[in-house]
Amino acid sequence: MTLALMRGADLIGRPVVDASTGERLAEIKDVVFDARLGTITGLTLRNPGLLGRRLNDVLPIGAVVSVGTDAVIVEGDEALTPGDEAPANMAAAKSDDVLDVQVITESGRKLGALRDVIILGGPAPRIVGFEVGGGPVGNGLVPLGAQAAVSGNALIVPDEYEQRIREDLTGLAAELSLMDSGFV
């Protein structure tokens, strides 16, 4: 299994495949998440194709079998839920709701603007970081910490995160591995 790190933008357009039929049900339109907890609550959908129209159906994260590098796997088309029956936690932010908000340390230093979310795929997909750009520290990837707070205006991170910005997904993966092991 590939537990790949992927940008939220990479997920857009990824097919939703029914593992019981081998049919493509939809494509991902956006990621809905709780940035404070780092949890993905669901995915909004569109019809397949470049000009795919938005679907009213949504995909609650609990109905996802796995988020892979090439497809999002579900079991049966009943995994797709009408938008007006979506779980309450899917009212959280969509990834495009928070793009370009300022990333600021607790001491008030602006690190840049939030360019994307970083997702760890697999059977329990979650937000593990953010991509920052256009600021004094240049472009980079910031791991999501438990202390992070986000609004429509700003993402607040601990001061020491300025030293944890990594240039690429490989570097972020190493950083996350250190965090999980308790070294930082």
Binding site: T21, G22, R24, D70
Partner: protein, 142 residues
Amino acid sequence: MTLLSKLIGRDAIALSSAVTTGTVTGIALDGDHIVNVKLSDTTIDAGAVRSFAGDVLTYDDLFANHSGGGSAATDPRGTRVIDMHGDLLGVIADLTLSGAGRVENIILDTGDTVAGERLRVIGSYAAIITVDLPPPTGSPVR
């Protein structure tokens, strides 16, 4: 054993009349078993086929349950192969089939093979592979 690429295009002969009734153009699978065979303009039950590994496809036409549709029977070569994790393994280059019509191996365009027992379903978008068994490995079966 035979390859799907050899089966497609093979003449089909009805045993009761010894008449060539068409050529094989597709198969329909239930898991790793062939359940229908599409001939030129008809579809027959796989249970009527004496063997899939002969030089021609012979079948008991009295038990073949002919149907004109056969839309589910296709040539799956070229279909993408995705595992239950959502990772693309490759594209179906060929299948090795037993004489009884069971998929023994899926041969991918990458040169890897996947055991036929891992095949869950082949749909119009993808063939789905279970992940309970080891990942694809080894050389293609010729």
